[in-house]
């Protein structure tokens, strides 16, 4: 298994949440870039710069799902996990159909978040071969 740190793009409009989660994931050896909006995220984005993206579904301005579509367009290899405050069959279906690989329901312990990110990372490594 690869020992280089997982490069994660974390996007959520809740500032406290993003700061603390970034720190906690950093403790687990991930290289986290945070953004508080889709616009900020796209400004920090470059194809190949990130292995996994973790996006909040509900954000003012450009939504998480729209951002998902855009990121996948710019980097088809990136794995995208969605974070949502309310999961429903419709939300899940939409996420999967737009290219999301997984989703998490808030609140969620960091261990579970990290586990999902690592699975996604492994999928990506496998794809790259």
């Amino acid at each position: 298994m690869n020992t280089t740190p997982v490069r994660l793009l974390l996007v959520d409009d809740e500032e406290r949440f993003v700061t603390t989660l970034a720190r906690l994931l950093g403790l687990r050896g991930m290289a986290v870039t945070s953004a508080l909006s889709a616009e900020q995220a796209l400004a920090a984005f470059a194809p190949g710069a990130f292995d996994v993206a973790l996006l909040d579904v509900k954000m003012p301005g450009v939504s998480g799902v729209d951002l998902l579509v855009e990121l996948r367009k710019r980097d088809p290899d990136i794995e995208v996990i969605m974070l949502t405050g309310h999961a429903s069959v419709d939300v899940a279906a939409e996420i999967m159909s737009r290219g999301g690989s997984d989703y998490l329901l808030k609140p969620c312990p960091t261990d579970d978040i990290a586990a999902k990110i690592l699975s996604a990372y492994e999928r990506r490594c496998a794809k790259k071969g």
Binding site: D13, E14, R16, F17, T20, L21, R23, L24, L27, K58, P60, L83, G85, H86, S88, L105, K106, P107, C108, P109, T110
Partner: protein, 309 residues
Amino acid sequence: MPQKTPESASPSRALALAACALALGAPLLSGWAGMAAGAGAAGCVLYGRWKWAKLVRQGKAQRDALRDRLLQSQKLAAIGEVAAGIAHEINNPLAVITQETEWMEHLLAPPLPMSEQTYSAVRQGLKDVQAQVNRCADITHSLLSLARNWTPILQPVDLNTLAEDMAKLVELEARQRNVTLDRRYAPDLPEALLDPPLMRQAILNLLVNALHAVEGGGVISMATAPGPEGGCILRVADTGPGIPEQNISRIFDPFFTTKAPGKGTGLGLAITHRIIDRLGGTITAESPPGKGAVFTISLPPTPAKEPQP
């Protein structure tokens, strides 16, 4: 002899049988037999009409039952939506609390003693948790507000004064955000009979909503006018982005909000709507293209005062 129509026959079948009876009877029989055949046919027709009426009644009952079931499932769907909205609203602060407490656990891990820096970080973490708890409390309190069974206590009031009081409250903050609060009060506004604290809440919520809409600068206009039948009209308009066509019908729904987290619970307009409804008035929202949003409250006229003996 006329055919006896079976119980399950449709009215058309009964009529058809009657027609057959006539058709058969007329050429084959004559005189009394013909009359009997005719009477029999008429009997079939009458019986058919009775059957028809019964079926129509049954149909109406079925329709009413279906309508009730539809209303019930619409109600349940609405409750479901509100419940999902609540869950979503509370899940966000809970998420912050989850990660925040994990971080504090990390900070408090041995070895002791902890540094000054760590100590401050833990205290900050606790403050953040408290802030999120307060946020949850705001949500549940707003919900209780919405759920409260208000019986309005009616008092005669000058709506202009009431509105201006709320405007003064919002004005200072508005100015800081580059927002002008324009007021135009009708001098001939009739006295209104309403519950003053409830009306204050209703107006305040509209102003707060307008303030959020013109974030960064704009104009909020509030105006009163006498209503068409002697009541009062109060209008709050803003020069914000307006309400998209597909959202207008949902604008007063609880938790229907497009705002950033922690900024308003999405219940302000729902509470306003409920209050106005309780006061016997109506509130509408419009968003003419390129002109922001306009909320119009219409209050019923005060019942004519009984002449004192």
